[in-house]
Protein backbone atom coordinates (compact mmCIF):
# COMPACT_ATOMS: atom_id res chain seq x y z
CA UNK A 1 0.00 0.00 0.00
CA UNK A 2 1.31 3.46 -0.80
CA UNK A 3 1.60 6.36 1.57
CA UNK A 4 2.66 6.18 5.19
CA UNK A 5 1.29 3.18 7.06
CA UNK A 6 1.97 2.91 10.77
CA UNK A 7 0.76 -0.20 12.56
CA UNK A 8 0.84 -1.16 16.20
CA UNK A 9 3.89 0.96 16.77
CA UNK A 10 5.51 0.95 20.21
CA UNK A 11 8.42 3.21 21.11
CA UNK A 12 10.16 3.32 24.49
CA UNK A 13 12.60 5.57 26.27
CA UNK A 14 14.04 3.07 28.71
CA UNK A 15 11.13 2.10 30.91
CA UNK A 16 8.87 4.85 29.57
CA UNK A 17 6.53 3.79 26.79
CA UNK A 18 6.27 7.05 24.83
CA UNK A 19 4.25 5.67 21.91
CA UNK A 20 1.80 2.91 22.67
CA UNK A 21 0.21 0.65 20.05
CA UNK A 22 -0.24 3.47 17.60
CA UNK A 23 -1.72 2.82 14.15
CA UNK A 24 -2.72 5.28 11.45
CA UNK A 25 -2.33 5.83 7.73
CA UNK A 26 -1.52 8.93 5.70
CA UNK A 27 -2.33 8.64 2.00
CA UNK A 28 0.03 10.07 -0.62
CA UNK A 29 -0.44 13.82 -0.96
CA UNK A 30 -2.32 14.11 2.30
CA UNK A 31 -1.53 16.63 5.01
CA UNK A 32 -1.93 14.95 8.39
CA UNK A 33 -1.96 16.93 11.63
CA UNK A 34 -0.80 14.98 14.68
CA UNK A 35 -2.20 16.74 17.72
CA UNK A 36 -1.38 16.17 21.36
CA UNK A 37 -0.31 18.01 24.47
CA UNK A 38 3.11 18.00 26.16
CA UNK A 39 4.55 14.52 26.50
CA UNK A 40 2.00 12.94 24.16
CA UNK A 41 4.80 11.26 22.22
CA UNK A 42 4.69 13.40 19.08
CA UNK A 43 8.40 14.16 18.88
CA UNK A 44 9.24 10.55 19.71
CA UNK A 45 7.02 9.42 16.83
CA UNK A 46 8.65 11.79 14.32
CA UNK A 47 12.15 10.81 15.46
CA UNK A 48 11.31 7.20 14.75
CA UNK A 49 9.84 8.04 11.34
CA UNK A 50 13.06 9.82 10.35
CA UNK A 51 15.34 7.08 11.70
CA UNK A 52 16.80 8.97 14.65
CA UNK A 53 15.18 6.65 17.17
CA UNK A 54 14.53 2.94 16.94
CA UNK A 55 11.11 1.45 17.62
CA UNK A 56 10.36 -1.22 20.19
CA UNK A 57 7.88 -3.10 18.04
CA UNK A 58 5.34 -2.62 15.26
CA UNK A 59 5.86 -1.54 11.69
CA UNK A 60 6.16 1.62 9.62
CA UNK A 61 5.96 1.47 5.85
CA UNK A 62 6.48 4.24 3.35
CA UNK A 63 5.21 3.36 -0.12
CA UNK A 64 5.23 -0.32 0.71
CA UNK A 65 8.74 -0.46 2.19
CA UNK A 66 9.61 -0.82 5.84
CA UNK A 67 11.52 2.21 7.08
CA UNK A 68 12.25 1.02 10.59
CA UNK A 69 15.95 0.32 11.22
CA UNK A 70 17.02 2.63 8.43
CA UNK A 71 19.40 5.50 9.09
CA UNK A 72 18.27 9.13 8.80
CA UNK A 73 20.93 9.88 6.19
CA UNK A 74 19.52 7.10 4.00
CA UNK A 75 15.87 8.00 4.60
CA UNK A 76 16.61 11.55 3.45
CA UNK A 77 17.85 10.10 0.20
CA UNK A 78 14.55 8.31 -0.26
CA UNK A 79 12.58 11.52 0.27
CA UNK A 80 11.74 11.44 3.98
CA UNK A 81 12.80 14.79 5.41
CA UNK A 82 12.43 15.74 9.07
CA UNK A 83 12.41 19.32 10.36
CA UNK A 84 13.05 18.77 14.08
CA UNK A 85 11.54 20.91 16.81
CA UNK A 86 12.67 24.47 17.43
CA UNK A 87 16.37 24.20 16.87
CA UNK A 88 16.55 22.80 13.39
CA UNK A 89 19.06 25.32 12.06
CA UNK A 90 22.77 25.46 12.76
CA UNK A 91 23.37 28.86 14.37
CA UNK A 92 27.13 28.77 13.73
CA UNK A 93 26.55 28.70 9.97
CA UNK A 94 25.23 31.40 7.69
CA UNK A 95 21.74 31.29 6.21
CA UNK A 96 23.25 30.39 2.87
CA UNK A 97 25.24 27.52 4.35
CA UNK A 98 22.20 26.23 6.24
CA UNK A 99 20.27 26.15 2.97
CA UNK A 100 23.19 24.48 1.18
CA UNK A 101 23.06 21.66 3.75
CA UNK A 102 19.66 20.67 2.39
CA UNK A 103 21.10 19.68 -0.97
CA UNK A 104 24.55 18.60 0.13
CA UNK A 105 24.07 14.91 -0.69
CA UNK A 106 22.32 15.50 -4.01
CA UNK A 107 24.06 14.89 -7.33
CA UNK A 108 21.70 16.98 -9.46
CA UNK A 109 23.22 20.39 -8.68
CA UNK A 110 21.02 22.12 -11.27
CA UNK A 111 17.91 21.04 -9.45
CA UNK A 112 19.47 22.00 -6.11
CA UNK A 113 19.92 25.52 -7.48
CA UNK A 114 16.33 25.52 -8.72
CA UNK A 115 14.98 24.22 -5.41
CA UNK A 116 17.01 26.84 -3.54
CA UNK A 117 15.53 29.57 -5.72
CA UNK A 118 12.03 28.20 -5.02
CA UNK A 119 12.68 28.16 -1.28
CA UNK A 120 13.81 31.78 -1.39
CA UNK A 121 10.79 32.71 -3.46
CA UNK A 122 8.56 31.12 -0.83
CA UNK A 123 10.41 32.87 2.03
CA UNK A 124 11.89 36.07 0.55
CA UNK A 125 13.25 37.05 3.98
CA UNK A 126 15.84 34.31 3.64
CA UNK A 127 17.08 35.79 0.40
CA UNK A 128 17.74 39.11 2.08
CA UNK A 129 19.75 37.47 4.85
CA UNK A 130 21.89 34.95 2.97
CA UNK A 131 25.27 36.04 4.36
CA UNK A 132 24.03 36.53 7.92
CA UNK A 133 24.76 33.98 10.60
CA UNK A 134 21.64 31.94 11.37
CA UNK A 135 22.19 32.94 14.99
CA UNK A 136 20.90 36.42 14.16
CA UNK A 137 17.53 35.25 12.78
CA UNK A 138 14.22 35.68 14.58
CA UNK A 139 12.27 32.59 15.61
CA UNK A 140 10.00 32.82 12.59
CA UNK A 141 12.91 33.27 10.22
CA UNK A 142 14.64 30.24 11.72
CA UNK A 143 11.57 28.15 11.10
CA UNK A 144 11.46 29.43 7.51
CA UNK A 145 15.12 28.51 7.13
CA UNK A 146 14.54 25.02 8.53
CA UNK A 147 11.62 24.40 6.20
CA UNK A 148 13.49 25.99 3.29
CA UNK A 149 16.42 23.66 3.87
CA UNK A 150 14.10 20.66 3.94
CA UNK A 151 12.58 21.67 0.60
CA UNK A 152 15.96 21.72 -1.11
CA UNK A 153 16.17 17.98 -0.43
CA UNK A 154 13.03 17.64 -2.62
CA UNK A 155 11.06 15.74 0.02
CA UNK A 156 8.25 13.36 -0.76
CA UNK A 157 7.30 12.90 2.89
CA UNK A 158 7.83 15.99 5.01
CA UNK A 159 7.86 15.62 8.80
CA UNK A 160 7.40 18.87 10.72
CA UNK A 161 7.75 19.08 14.51
CA UNK A 162 5.80 21.99 16.00
CA UNK A 163 6.76 24.66 13.47
CA UNK A 164 4.52 27.13 15.32
CA UNK A 165 6.38 26.79 18.62
CA UNK A 166 7.16 30.16 20.15
CA UNK A 167 5.99 32.21 17.19
CA UNK A 168 3.58 35.17 17.06
CA UNK A 169 0.07 34.42 15.68
CA UNK A 170 0.70 36.32 12.48
CA UNK A 171 3.92 34.42 11.78
CA UNK A 172 2.25 31.11 12.65
CA UNK A 173 -0.37 31.85 10.07
CA UNK A 174 2.28 32.64 7.50
CA UNK A 175 4.15 29.37 8.20
CA UNK A 176 0.95 27.30 8.07
CA UNK A 177 -0.07 28.89 4.78
CA UNK A 178 3.36 28.15 3.36
CA UNK A 179 3.08 24.50 4.42
CA UNK A 180 -0.30 24.21 2.76
CA UNK A 181 0.94 25.93 -0.39
CA UNK A 182 3.89 23.54 -0.57
CA UNK A 183 1.71 20.52 -0.22
CA UNK A 184 -0.58 21.81 -2.98
CA UNK A 185 2.25 22.72 -5.31
CA UNK A 186 4.50 19.68 -4.94
CA UNK A 187 1.91 17.11 -3.92
CA UNK A 188 3.88 16.36 -0.77
CA UNK A 189 2.74 14.02 1.93
CA UNK A 190 3.05 15.93 5.20
CA UNK A 191 2.98 14.88 8.84
CA UNK A 192 2.55 18.07 10.86
CA UNK A 193 3.01 17.66 14.61
CA UNK A 194 1.36 20.45 16.58
CA UNK A 195 0.04 21.59 19.93
CA UNK A 196 -1.69 24.42 18.10
CA UNK A 197 -4.64 22.16 17.28
CA UNK A 198 -6.93 24.68 15.62
CA UNK A 199 -4.30 26.15 13.32
CA UNK A 200 -3.02 22.76 12.24
CA UNK A 201 -6.42 21.13 11.72
CA UNK A 202 -7.58 24.07 9.60
CA UNK A 203 -4.94 23.39 6.96
CA UNK A 204 -4.87 19.61 7.38
CA UNK A 205 -6.81 16.93 5.48
CA UNK A 206 -6.81 14.48 8.34
CA UNK A 207 -6.15 14.76 12.05
CA UNK A 208 -4.66 12.27 14.48
CA UNK A 209 -5.12 13.04 18.15
CA UNK A 210 -2.83 11.29 20.61
CA UNK A 211 -2.56 11.44 24.36
CA UNK A 212 0.12 9.77 26.50
CA UNK A 213 1.30 7.82 23.48
CA UNK A 214 -2.10 6.42 22.57
CA UNK A 215 -4.44 7.20 19.71
CA UNK A 216 -7.51 9.10 20.94
CA UNK A 217 -9.24 9.90 17.66
CA UNK A 218 -8.51 10.20 13.98
CA UNK A 219 -10.47 11.23 10.92
CA UNK A 220 -11.05 14.08 8.47
CA UNK A 221 -9.75 17.29 9.99
CA UNK A 222 -13.03 19.21 9.71
CA UNK A 223 -14.91 16.47 11.56
CA UNK A 224 -12.44 16.58 14.42
CA UNK A 225 -12.77 20.35 14.63
CA UNK A 226 -16.55 20.06 14.93
CA UNK A 227 -16.55 17.24 17.47
CA UNK A 228 -17.68 18.80 20.76
CA UNK A 229 -16.27 16.15 23.09
CA UNK A 230 -12.80 16.33 21.48
CA UNK A 231 -12.94 20.08 21.57
CA UNK A 232 -13.22 20.27 25.29
CA UNK A 233 -10.83 17.45 26.15
CA UNK A 234 -8.00 17.65 23.63
CA UNK A 235 -8.27 20.57 21.27
CA UNK A 236 -8.42 23.23 23.95
CA UNK A 237 -10.74 25.84 22.50
Amino acid sequence: MSGLVISELNISHGAIRAVNDLSFTVKPGELAAVIGSNGAGKTTLLRTLSGLKSAHSGSVEWNGQSILRKKPEDLVRSGIVHVSDGKSVIPELTVKENLALGGIWRKDKKDVALATAEAIELFPRLGERMQQSADTLSGGERQMLAIGRALIARPKLLLLDEPSLGLAPLVIDQIFQAIKALRDRHNLTVVLVEQNAMGALRIADIGIIINLGKLVASGPAHELIDNPSLRAAYLGY
Binding site: K71, E73, I90, P91, L93, A100, L101
Partner: protein
Protein backbone atom coordinates in the same frame (compact mmCIF):
# COMPACT_ATOMS: atom_id res chain seq x y z
CA UNK B 1 65.77 46.80 16.98
CA UNK B 2 67.45 44.34 14.68
CA UNK B 3 67.81 41.85 17.52
CA UNK B 4 64.11 42.18 18.30
CA UNK B 5 63.17 41.69 14.66
CA UNK B 6 65.34 38.57 14.36
CA UNK B 7 63.90 37.15 17.55
CA UNK B 8 60.37 37.63 16.26
CA UNK B 9 61.28 35.92 12.98
CA UNK B 10 62.57 32.90 14.88
CA UNK B 11 59.41 33.02 17.00
CA UNK B 12 57.26 32.92 13.90
CA UNK B 13 59.12 29.86 12.66
CA UNK B 14 58.78 28.02 15.98
CA UNK B 15 55.20 29.19 16.35
CA UNK B 16 54.30 27.80 12.92
CA UNK B 17 55.01 24.31 14.16
CA UNK B 18 52.92 24.90 17.29
CA UNK B 19 50.11 26.13 15.00
CA UNK B 20 50.22 22.92 12.99
CA UNK B 21 50.08 20.79 16.12
CA UNK B 22 47.28 22.99 17.48
CA UNK B 23 45.45 22.58 14.17
CA UNK B 24 45.71 18.79 14.51
CA UNK B 25 44.23 18.95 18.00
CA UNK B 26 41.50 21.41 17.04
CA UNK B 27 40.40 19.29 14.07
CA UNK B 28 39.88 16.28 16.31
CA UNK B 29 38.27 18.28 19.08
CA UNK B 30 35.83 19.86 16.65
CA UNK B 31 34.86 16.65 14.92
CA UNK B 32 34.53 14.31 17.90
CA UNK B 33 34.96 16.38 21.10
CA UNK B 34 37.97 14.30 22.05
CA UNK B 35 41.17 15.76 23.50
CA UNK B 36 43.63 13.66 21.54
CA UNK B 37 46.80 12.87 23.47
CA UNK B 38 47.69 10.22 20.91
CA UNK B 39 48.43 13.00 18.42
CA UNK B 40 52.09 13.09 19.55
CA UNK B 41 52.27 9.35 18.88
CA UNK B 42 50.57 9.63 15.50
CA UNK B 43 52.97 12.40 14.51
CA UNK B 44 56.05 10.49 15.70
CA UNK B 45 54.99 7.35 13.85
CA UNK B 46 54.45 9.33 10.65
CA UNK B 47 57.79 11.06 11.09
CA UNK B 48 59.61 7.74 11.56
CA UNK B 49 57.98 6.51 8.38
CA UNK B 50 59.26 9.68 6.70
CA UNK B 51 62.69 8.98 8.23
CA UNK B 52 62.64 5.47 6.78
CA UNK B 53 61.89 6.86 3.31
CA UNK B 54 64.73 9.37 3.67
CA UNK B 55 67.25 6.69 4.68
CA UNK B 56 66.30 4.60 1.66
CA UNK B 57 65.90 7.27 -0.99
CA UNK B 58 67.80 10.21 0.44
CA UNK B 59 64.85 12.30 -0.63
CA UNK B 60 63.08 14.52 1.92
CA UNK B 61 60.59 15.76 -0.66
CA UNK B 62 59.39 12.23 -1.31
CA UNK B 63 59.34 11.40 2.40
CA UNK B 64 57.17 14.42 3.17
CA UNK B 65 54.02 13.38 1.24
CA UNK B 66 54.43 9.76 2.33
CA UNK B 67 54.58 10.79 5.98
CA UNK B 68 51.54 12.98 5.40
CA UNK B 69 49.52 10.11 3.96
CA UNK B 70 50.70 7.80 6.75
CA UNK B 71 49.52 10.40 9.27
CA UNK B 72 46.12 10.65 7.60
CA UNK B 73 45.67 6.87 7.51
CA UNK B 74 46.72 6.48 11.14
CA UNK B 75 44.24 9.15 12.19
CA UNK B 76 41.41 7.54 10.24
CA UNK B 77 42.20 4.09 11.65
CA UNK B 78 42.26 5.33 15.24
CA UNK B 79 38.84 6.88 14.77
CA UNK B 80 37.33 3.85 13.11
CA UNK B 81 38.85 1.19 15.35
CA UNK B 82 38.84 2.94 18.69
CA UNK B 83 37.07 6.26 19.09
CA UNK B 84 33.91 5.41 17.18
CA UNK B 85 33.38 2.18 19.10
CA UNK B 86 34.07 3.78 22.47
CA UNK B 87 31.65 6.60 21.78
CA UNK B 88 28.90 4.23 20.71
CA UNK B 89 29.38 1.96 23.74
CA UNK B 90 29.58 4.69 26.33
CA UNK B 91 27.30 7.47 25.19
CA UNK B 92 26.06 8.84 28.47
CA UNK B 93 27.18 9.31 32.03
CA UNK B 94 30.45 10.71 33.36
CA UNK B 95 32.51 8.00 31.68
CA UNK B 96 31.29 8.89 28.20
CA UNK B 97 33.25 12.13 28.03
CA UNK B 98 36.45 10.88 29.58
CA UNK B 99 36.75 7.33 28.22
CA UNK B 100 37.97 8.27 24.73
CA UNK B 101 40.45 10.76 26.20
CA UNK B 102 41.98 8.18 28.52
CA UNK B 103 42.04 5.80 25.59
CA UNK B 104 44.07 8.27 23.52
CA UNK B 105 46.49 8.60 26.42
CA UNK B 106 46.92 4.82 26.48
CA UNK B 107 47.29 4.82 22.74
CA UNK B 108 50.10 7.37 22.97
CA UNK B 109 52.00 4.95 25.18
CA UNK B 110 51.25 2.06 22.86
CA UNK B 111 52.42 3.86 19.72
CA UNK B 112 55.59 5.02 21.49
CA UNK B 113 56.32 1.45 22.55
CA UNK B 114 55.77 0.15 19.02
CA UNK B 115 57.98 2.87 17.56
CA UNK B 116 60.63 2.05 20.17
CA UNK B 117 60.47 -1.63 19.28
CA UNK B 118 60.90 -0.99 15.57
CA UNK B 119 63.42 1.84 15.57
CA UNK B 120 64.98 1.63 19.03
CA UNK B 121 65.38 4.47 21.48
CA UNK B 122 68.51 6.18 20.17
CA UNK B 123 68.41 9.67 18.78
CA UNK B 124 68.40 9.92 15.03
CA UNK B 125 68.81 12.85 12.73
CA UNK B 126 67.33 13.90 9.41
CA UNK B 127 69.56 15.20 6.69
CA UNK B 128 68.54 18.82 6.30
CA UNK B 129 66.34 19.35 3.23
CA UNK B 130 67.52 22.96 2.94
CA UNK B 131 70.26 24.91 4.69
CA UNK B 132 70.06 25.95 8.31
CA UNK B 133 72.58 28.76 7.85
CA UNK B 134 70.91 32.10 8.29
CA UNK B 135 70.20 34.34 5.34
CA UNK B 136 72.93 36.86 4.66
CA UNK B 137 72.32 40.47 3.70
CA UNK B 138 75.60 42.22 2.81
CA UNK B 139 77.88 41.10 5.63
CA UNK B 140 75.01 40.66 8.00
CA UNK B 141 73.81 37.11 8.74
CA UNK B 142 70.47 36.70 10.51
CA UNK B 143 69.42 33.61 12.48
CA UNK B 144 66.43 33.02 10.19
CA UNK B 145 67.54 30.33 7.72
CA UNK B 146 66.07 28.67 4.62
CA UNK B 147 64.83 25.82 6.85
CA UNK B 148 62.83 28.39 8.85
CA UNK B 149 61.45 29.81 5.64
CA UNK B 150 60.42 26.30 4.60
CA UNK B 151 58.64 25.83 7.92
CA UNK B 152 56.75 29.12 7.69
CA UNK B 153 55.80 28.77 4.03
CA UNK B 154 54.64 25.16 4.44
CA UNK B 155 52.54 26.11 7.45
CA UNK B 156 50.94 28.99 5.59
CA UNK B 157 50.16 26.70 2.66
CA UNK B 158 48.65 24.03 4.93
CA UNK B 159 46.55 26.62 6.74
CA UNK B 160 45.34 28.09 3.43
CA UNK B 161 44.42 24.66 2.08
CA UNK B 162 42.44 23.87 5.21
CA UNK B 163 40.65 27.24 5.16
CA UNK B 164 39.64 26.72 1.56
CA UNK B 165 38.39 23.21 2.34
CA UNK B 166 36.44 24.37 5.38
CA UNK B 167 35.00 27.57 3.96
CA UNK B 168 34.48 26.79 0.29
CA UNK B 169 33.72 23.11 -0.20
CA UNK B 170 30.83 20.79 0.56
CA UNK B 171 33.22 18.58 2.50
CA UNK B 172 34.08 21.56 4.69
CA UNK B 173 30.43 22.36 5.21
CA UNK B 174 29.80 18.72 6.19
CA UNK B 175 32.72 18.83 8.62
CA UNK B 176 31.45 22.00 10.25
CA UNK B 177 27.81 20.89 10.38
CA UNK B 178 28.77 17.51 11.86
CA UNK B 179 30.91 19.22 14.48
CA UNK B 180 28.29 21.76 15.55
CA UNK B 181 25.04 19.81 15.30
CA UNK B 182 25.53 16.15 14.40
CA UNK B 183 21.83 15.39 14.56
CA UNK B 184 20.81 18.15 12.18
CA UNK B 185 23.69 17.13 9.94
CA UNK B 186 22.35 13.56 9.78
CA UNK B 187 18.85 14.85 9.04
CA UNK B 188 20.37 16.82 6.17
CA UNK B 189 21.77 13.57 4.78
CA UNK B 190 25.38 13.92 5.89
CA UNK B 191 27.18 10.68 6.81
CA UNK B 192 28.43 12.00 10.11
CA UNK B 193 30.58 8.99 11.05
CA UNK B 194 32.47 9.15 7.78
CA UNK B 195 32.81 12.91 8.06
CA UNK B 196 34.33 12.58 11.54
CA UNK B 197 36.81 10.03 10.27
CA UNK B 198 37.86 12.51 7.60
CA UNK B 199 38.37 15.07 10.38
CA UNK B 200 40.68 12.61 12.15
CA UNK B 201 42.54 11.94 8.89
CA UNK B 202 43.07 15.67 8.30
CA UNK B 203 44.33 16.04 11.86
CA UNK B 204 46.73 13.12 11.40
CA UNK B 205 48.08 14.73 8.24
CA UNK B 206 48.58 18.08 9.97
CA UNK B 207 50.44 16.39 12.84
CA UNK B 208 52.66 14.55 10.36
CA UNK B 209 53.54 17.84 8.67
CA UNK B 210 54.47 19.29 12.07
CA UNK B 211 56.69 16.29 12.77
CA UNK B 212 58.38 16.43 9.38
CA UNK B 213 59.05 20.15 9.74
CA UNK B 214 60.33 20.21 13.29
CA UNK B 215 62.57 17.16 13.11
CA UNK B 216 65.28 18.40 10.68
CA UNK B 217 66.47 21.01 13.21
CA UNK B 218 66.03 18.58 16.06
CA UNK B 219 66.52 14.94 16.95
CA UNK B 220 64.13 12.10 16.33
CA UNK B 221 63.33 9.70 19.16
CA UNK B 222 60.16 7.87 20.25
CA UNK B 223 59.24 10.78 22.49
CA UNK B 224 60.85 13.71 20.71
CA UNK B 225 57.46 15.24 19.89
CA UNK B 226 55.99 15.10 23.39
CA UNK B 227 56.90 18.67 24.21
CA UNK B 228 55.37 19.73 20.91
CA UNK B 229 52.10 18.12 22.02
CA UNK B 230 52.08 20.31 25.12
CA UNK B 231 52.88 23.43 23.08
CA UNK B 232 50.18 22.44 20.60
CA UNK B 233 47.62 22.14 23.38
CA UNK B 234 48.62 25.49 24.84
CA UNK B 235 48.39 27.11 21.41
CA UNK B 236 45.03 25.47 20.69
CA UNK B 237 43.56 26.63 23.99
CA UNK B 238 44.92 30.16 23.54
CA UNK B 239 43.14 30.17 20.21
CA UNK B 240 39.87 29.02 21.73
CA UNK B 241 40.06 25.34 20.71
CA UNK B 242 37.37 25.72 18.06
CA UNK B 243 38.82 27.57 15.13
CA UNK B 244 41.57 27.13 12.59
CA UNK B 245 42.41 30.82 12.78
CA UNK B 246 42.62 30.43 16.55
CA UNK B 247 45.12 27.59 16.17
CA UNK B 248 47.28 29.70 13.85
CA UNK B 249 47.14 32.78 16.08
CA UNK B 250 47.67 30.75 19.27
CA UNK B 251 50.74 29.07 17.80
CA UNK B 252 52.25 32.38 16.71
CA UNK B 253 51.63 34.07 20.06
CA UNK B 254 53.23 31.17 21.88
CA UNK B 255 56.15 30.94 19.45
CA UNK B 256 56.96 34.64 19.58
CA UNK B 257 56.61 34.85 23.37
CA UNK B 258 58.91 31.88 23.83
CA UNK B 259 61.49 33.31 21.45
CA UNK B 260 61.44 36.65 23.26
CA UNK B 261 61.90 35.06 26.68
CA UNK B 262 64.68 32.79 25.46
CA UNK B 263 66.49 35.69 23.86
CA UNK B 264 66.07 38.35 26.53
CA UNK B 265 65.58 36.51 29.82
CA UNK B 266 66.66 32.92 30.18
CA UNK B 267 66.62 29.73 28.19
CA UNK B 268 65.64 27.68 31.22
CA UNK B 269 62.22 29.33 31.32
CA UNK B 270 60.85 27.83 28.10
CA UNK B 271 58.47 25.35 29.67
CA UNK B 272 56.95 27.57 32.38
CA UNK B 273 56.59 30.45 29.93
CA UNK B 274 54.16 28.46 27.82
CA UNK B 275 51.85 28.21 30.80
CA UNK B 276 52.30 31.81 31.86
CA UNK B 277 51.21 32.85 28.36
CA UNK B 278 48.27 30.45 28.51
CA UNK B 279 47.07 31.71 31.87
CA UNK B 280 47.56 35.34 30.88
CA UNK B 281 45.42 34.88 27.76
CA UNK B 282 42.72 32.97 29.61
CA UNK B 283 42.55 35.59 32.36
CA UNK B 284 41.95 38.28 29.77
CA UNK B 285 39.67 36.18 27.55
CA UNK B 286 38.37 33.09 29.31
CA UNK B 287 37.04 31.50 26.11
CA UNK B 288 40.33 31.87 24.26
CA UNK B 289 41.20 34.53 21.72
CA UNK B 290 38.94 33.22 18.98
CA UNK B 291 36.58 31.43 21.34
CA UNK B 292 33.05 30.41 20.57
CA UNK B 293 30.81 33.46 20.38
CA UNK B 294 27.98 31.52 21.93
CA UNK B 295 27.72 28.40 24.00
CA UNK B 296 27.34 25.49 21.66
CA UNK B 297 24.94 22.67 22.19
CA UNK B 298 27.21 19.77 23.05
Amino acid sequence: MERLFNTILIGVSGGSIYSLMALALVLVWRSTRVVNFAQAGQAILSTYIGYEVITHTDNYWLAFPIALVAGALTGALIDILMVRTLMKRAHSGPVAGIAPVIATLGLLGLIRAIVGMIWGGDLRQFKLPVSNHGFTFGHNTIPFAPINLLIVVTTVVVMLIFSVIFQRTNLGLSLRASAYQPEIARLAGIRVDLTRTIGWAFAGAAGAVAGMLVTPTNYLSPNSLDLLLVSGFVAAVIGGLESLVGAAVGGLILGISLALVLEYISSSLAFPVAFVVLIAVLLVKPSGLIGAKRTRHA
